[in-house]
């Protein structure tokens, strides 16, 4: 059974800080990895994805994520956060053109 683990339920940083949101998965085959953002009261929105090639992928609004096969991780990073980045972030895994499985989410709070 594949799992997606987001170990931090809540992360709080100050505006201008850098942030890393962690995602680990357990699956040995070919997979797509992606991140979604959910602002309060809204549906999820796609941020970025990785399947192959350069392990660092760029997304919207300055977000990037790095794939590590050795660590089974796909952590999301941003160098300088803005208050509008406050949201819940979901890591997702799609093994072998199957269904997308989501982690439990990390709530990011950016304080002024």
């Amino acid at each position: 059974t594949q799992t997606v683990s987001q170990s931090d339920a809540h992360v709080t940083v100050f505006e201008g800080d850098s942030v890393e949101l962690r995602c680990n998965y357990s699956y040995g085959g070919s997979i797509y990895l992606s991140w979604y953002i959910q602002h309060h009261g809204r549906g999820l929105q796609f941020l970025l994805k990785y399947y192959s090639g350069n392990p660092v992928v760029q997304g919207v609004n300055g977000f990037e994520a790095e794939f590590s096969k050795s660590d089974s991780s796909f952590h999301l990073r941003k160098a300088s956060v803005h208050w509008s980045d406050s949201a819940v972030y979901f890591c997702a895994v799609m093994p072998n053109y199957n269904v997308l499985y989501f982690g439990s989410g990390t709530k990011l709070t950016v304080e002024p």
């Binding site: 339920a9 797509y32 992606s34 979604y36 009261g41 809204r42 549906g43 999820l44 929105q45 796609f46 994805k49 399947y51 979901f90 997702a92 799609m94 053109y97 269904v99 997308l100 499985y101 989501f102 982690g103 439990s104 989410g105």
Partner: protein, 113 residues
């Protein structure tokens, strides 16, 4: 105008009542999904639809059924709702089953009293 629309946004029902949640998309996407979101659990897949009248159970289908008679519409039905079905329900669509980018609606907050 790529959009997934869910109706209604909020719904309050009594235990035992029937519930119909509607979802539409304007992108001619083949694949559509119903998820529920509960605190601490993330999103759990209820049903997936590969196209018209081609539906498959997800991870938690018990107590739910779906209907897809047109590509652009996907309905979730709760026959005799239970209090543990109180949740936020999200509909999503993707171009096809192999496409990992999902487009989500705003969600329907269902309370079963």
């Amino acid at each position: 105008d790529m959009k997934v629309t869910q109706m209604p946004r909020y719904l309050i029902k009594r235990m035992g009542e029937n519930v119909l949640l509607e979802c539409g998309q304007d992108m001619s996407h083949e694949t559509m999904y119903w998820y529920r979101q509960d605190p601490g659990l993330g999103l759990q897949l209820i049903y997936i639809s590969y196209d018209v009248d081609s539906n498959s159970e997800g991870d938690i289908p018990k107590g739910y059924r779906v209907s897809r008679k047109k590509r652009e519409h996907f309905s979730l039905i709760l026959d005799s709702a239970k209090t543990n079905q109180t949740s936020v329900y999200f509909c999503a669509s993707s171009r096809d089953i192999s496409n990992e980018r999902l487009f989500f609606g705003h969600g329907t907050k269902l309370s079963v009293l």
